[in-house]
Every structure is written in C-alpha cells, then in structure tokens.
Amino acid sequence: MLDDIDQQLLQSYQRDFPLTENPFQEIGAALGIEEEEVIHRYQRLQEEGFISRIGPLVNHAKVGASTLVAIAAPPDTIETNAEIINSYVEINHNYLREHHYNLWFVVTAKDEARMHTVISEIESRTGCNALVLPMVKSFYIDLGFKLWQ
C-alpha cells in the first residue's frame, strides 16, 4: 500500500525534482524525513513498478526525429507483427488499440532518414501500409500526471 509519503514522492517530484547535488536530502527536508528513507522509498517504488525512472522526458520536437505510426494488422498476425515492430531499437511505444488501425507505435530516430528507413522496413516485413502521423503542433504542456485529487 502507498502511504501519504509515497503519494507525495510520486506526485510532487514529476516536474519539480530538485536540481542539486543531493536531491534526495532536499526532498527529505521538504517532507520531514531522512534522506536515507527517501532513497529507500524511491528504490522500493521502482522495484514494485510504480516508477520507471527518475530522469529526463525529452521534447520530441527538439531532439532527433519522431513520429506516431499505425498499421492495420490482420488479427491473426498481431503477435508476429508486434514482435517485428518491437525488434527495432527506434521503437519506444507500441500499443494494441481497438480499431481497424490496431497497432500504434512511436518511431524515434537520430534523424529523418533513419526514421523513414525504419518505417519502410516495417512496411515490407509486415506487409502492411503505415499510416504516418508526425506531430504538427503540441498544445500540451507536460506538468506530470495528476495521480490524486
């Protein structure tokens, strides 16, 4: 179970993680607990799968080349096609969704040329035409995910 301290560790430091040499000490001071306990709790939250990491969330528009892509995979090919897609290091998200276009993935590469190579290879290996949907504009400002009201 997550107590109040766990909830604050998850909620409050998605965006304003202290940029100091001892960030966990500063968080501890803010929450009234020892640095050691902050570290122990974050390690546990990571082990138990509540956090993936503490680090940067990169703005796709400013670094490298990326796009959302969808294919309409025939139902009996979903597993094998998902494996083909996942085999590329350039894929960081790959979801099955309820729609005619059922496999949705994000390609992120060092440049446009590599991004298009990956998409072409996936098209030829899966036999599916790719719907390529690059971001035109972001209206969203990422403040982290509001977990508790």
Binding site: E21, Q43, I54, G55, P56, K62, V63, L96, W104, K110
Partner: protein
C-alpha cells in the same frame, strides 16, 4: 568545456541512480563537476529540449487501466482554439495536432484520456464535449495491450 547535450541525454536515458549523489557517475563520465552536470540539465529544461526532469510514474501500476487515445476531426479554422482548450483539461494528457491522411484517416487532433475504468473515461469525454461544445466527429481508441513502453533512445 561545454557538455554535449546529445551525449548527456543519452547517458541519462535509463534514469539516475537512486543514491545520495546521483550525479557523481555522470560527472566522472563527462570529466566535469556534479554542479556542471546539474547546470547543463537546467539549461536543457530552460530551452525546452526537455519537457521535464523528474520522477516518471507508471500510471497503469497505480490503477489507471483505461487509457484511450481520443482523436478528433476539427475544422482547421478552430484547431488552435480547441487544441488549447482540450490541452487545459486536467484529464487530458498529450494534445497534438497531426496531419489527416485521407481517405484512410480523417482525424487531425490527438488527445489521451486516462481513467481507472472505461466508463469513467467515457464520462469524462462526454463532459468535455458538452462543456466545450465540440460537435466534431471523434473516435475513441482504447489500448488493450502494451507491447513496449520505455524512454526514447535517440542516439
């Protein structure tokens, strides 16, 4: 010497170690001080190369199991206004304009909605459509399986 921002981002892709001095290894790797690493990260935030720097939660693990990509076919003349309004909704995470791809794909605005169950997501969506008076065509694509989810590898 300036720290190469691409190399710094690459070095942080798996996250910081959770220990008293999480920047020590990066300082060694880049042959600089911890404070210089910290300043470089602050600069990447200030220049919008990073959307944010901090704890990246797995919301599915926290019970948010109903995750819908809601796509809209918004008249081009209204997309700025509605894009900004949808982005400001507390339940909306991500709000991007993307190109239509006719005749296969008529939708040009993409939002993500999360809830603990599907009915909650649909209630939120109906409420948003009513309050913002959006009568455009839309579609709801619930995710049923995650084959891969991790931080991007750029380099």
């Amino acid at each position: 010497m300036a720290i190469d921002s691409e190399k710094l981002i690459a070095a942080m892709q798996d996250g910081l170690p959770i220990c008293p001095h999480p920047y020590t290894n990066l300082a060694k790797q880049f042959a600089c001080t911890e404070q210089e690493i910290i300043s470089a990260i602050a600069e990447l935030k200030d220049t919008d190369v990073l959307n944010r720097f901090g704890v990246i939660v797995k919301h599915r693990r926290l019970g948010y199991n109903a995750n819908a990509m809601v796509v809209w076919n918004i008249d081009d003349e209204h997309i700025e206004r509605l894009g900004e309004k949808l982005a400001a909704e507390p339940s909306v995470t991500l709000c991007y304009q993307r190109p239509r791809n006719l005749p296969h794909w008529p939708y040009n605005l993409f939002t993500m909605l999360h809830g603990k169950e599907r009915s909650a997501v649909i209630r939120i969506l109906d409420d948003i459509r009513a309050r913002l008076s959006i009568d455009s065509d839309y579609d709801v694509l619930f995710s049923t399986r995650c084959f891969k989810q991790r931080g991007a590898r750029y380099f």
